[in-house]
């Protein structure tokens, strides 16, 4: 019979080999795929290392179970959250100190004894920069900012969580406005690992709703200021950049600007600020209408005033016109009268001219009279009777 081990013996050897080669804890970088805190206070994790793959994106290259014992967990969790502003969660890249153990029944397991939050922060930042670079290279970076914002934003599609404090703040601010703003809530998870996809789904739901909106507001749900990772998610940011309506964000953080904020047409700090901005568009438009009404009234007034003035001028011109026309005609008549006067016979007689008459009328020629004939000569103050004694026709 060949030399053989029982299964237990073999496992013991593997366990001993591990203990021999890895006697003290080592630092390991990995990604958390799954994280469960059980009722006894131990935290169980599934760690993975991925390999980039041109076909399917990434595939697991190595995987291992890990645990943070109840004795260490509260301290590590606090340390991590204080440094990163986020709780340990799936999809995070972590650098952890582990001791490797091997149990004949349960196989290999990693006991996490410490964690380096700086690594996670660096990884998140690196990932964020990669996302920014990718969106830029795909030409969608400025897309949402290029969407025309209508003069008045009155119909708003809101992406938030109905129970969130931020959403309540937003709705309260909207309600306090004297303008009626229509909002429709498209619910989404605003934190946690599925929130990125949830935002994408909400954006799609808005597009497929068939309703008309002027803008999309993304209002962050939760009260915790920590978990903002979903707003750096590539898919979420891509959907926001590609949104056909201007996106207004009120994610409510002051530490860091997320990628979603960077691509959104109108990035604002808080849900209240988003509501105030929306109400302000209505107020501005109202002001413009008010001003237009005043201008309209004023120009109407000016128009009728100048028309009235013109009528008054015409009335006056009519009066002076007819007066001058009449006096012009009067003057003309007077000059005609004077001309007529100049040729009047009495005036000629006074000047020394005389009119000679025979029985046949006014004498104009020597032929009109005969020698010895009696004629009458009219002068200015009477007439003279004369006799023709001679005729001289030398003037002919």
């Amino acid at each position: 019979m060949r030399e053989s081990f029982t299964l237990y013996e073999l496992q013991r050897i593997v366990g001993a080999a591990i203990e021999q080669f890895l006697p003290s804890p080592v630092w390991v970088s990995a990604e958390i795929v799954e994280l469960k805190l059980n009722s006894t206070g131990h935290c169980y994790l599934e760690l993975v290392e991925r390999e980039q793959n041109s076909v399917s994106g990434s595939t697991a290259k190595a995987q291992a179970r890990a645990v943070i014992w109840r004795s260490r967990y509260p301290q590590l969790a606090r340390k991590f959250e204080t440094a990163t502003g986020r709780g340990l969660a799936a999809a995070m890249k972590v650098l952890v100190q582990v001791s490797v153990s091997y149990h004949p029944l349960y196989g290999m397991s990693l006991q996490i004894t410490d964690i380096d939050p700086a690594y996670t922060l660096g990884e998140a930042e690196r990932q964020k920069q990669l996302t920014i670079a990718r969106l830029k290279s795909e030409g969608v970076w400025d897309k949402n900012r290029a969407v025309t914002v209508s003069r008045i934003v009155q119909r708003v599609a809101v992406i938030s969580s109905a129970t969130a404090a931020g959403y309540r703040d937003f709705m309260n601010e909207i309600a306090s406005s004297p303008y009626r703003i229509h909002t429709t809530l498209f619910e989404a998870l605003m934190q946690g690992e599925r929130s990125g996809q949830s935002i994408v789904d909400a954006l799609n739901a808005i597009e497929n709703s068939g309703e008309e909106f002027d803008a999309i507001a993304i209002i962050r749900g939760g009260g915790s200021t920590s978990d903002l990772e979903c707003f750096n998610d590539y898919q979420a940011a891509l959907s926001v950049a590609n949104a056909p309506l201007p996106v207004i964000t009120g994610i409510g953080h002051d530490k860091d600007v997320s990628v979603v904020d960077m691509v959104a047409a109108i990035p604002l700090k808080t849900p209240t600020a988003v509501a105030a901005w929306i109400c302000a568009t209505a107020e501005r438009f109202d002001g413009e209408l008010e001003y237009a009404a005043i201008m309209l009234r004023e120009s109407c007034h000016k128009l009728t005033q100048s028309a009235m003035m013109r009528l008054e001028q015409y009335s006056e011109r009519l009066h002076t016109g007819v007066t001058t026309a009449l006096s012009r005609q009067g003057e003309r008549l007077a000059s005609y009268a004077m001309m007529a006067e100049n040729f009047a016979p009495q005036r000629l007689l006074r000047l020394g001219f005389a009119i000679a008459r025979s029985n046949n009328g006014v004498i104009r020629s020597t032929d009109d009279v005969t020698l010895g004939q009696r004629i009458t000569i009219e002068v200015a103050n009477g007439s003279i009777t004369a006799e023709i004694v001679e005729k001289d026709e030398s003037n002919e």
């Binding site: 013109r310 015409y314 009335s315 026309a325």
Partner: protein, 60 residues
């Protein structure tokens, strides 16, 4: 007379005013022209006041 538009009335008033300035203005037609122009002017005034009131009402 009341069928005439404001613009037509204004044009006719202007025509009469111009004819008053020409030297060979017909005296016999003078009174007739002045009467016509006066009537047109008061017609325009009425139209204008009415328009003013209508506009004011719109702003109330």
């Amino acid at each position: 007379m009341s069928n005439i538009s404001y613009t037509e009335a204004m044009a006719e008033i202007e025509k009469i005013l111009n004819s008053l300035q020409s030297a060979d203005c017909d005296v016999e037609l003078l009174a007739q022209k002045v009467k016509r122009a006066s009537e047109l002017i008061s017609l325009c005034r009425t139209k204008l006041r009415k328009a003013e009131q209508e506009v004011e009402k719109l702003f109330e």
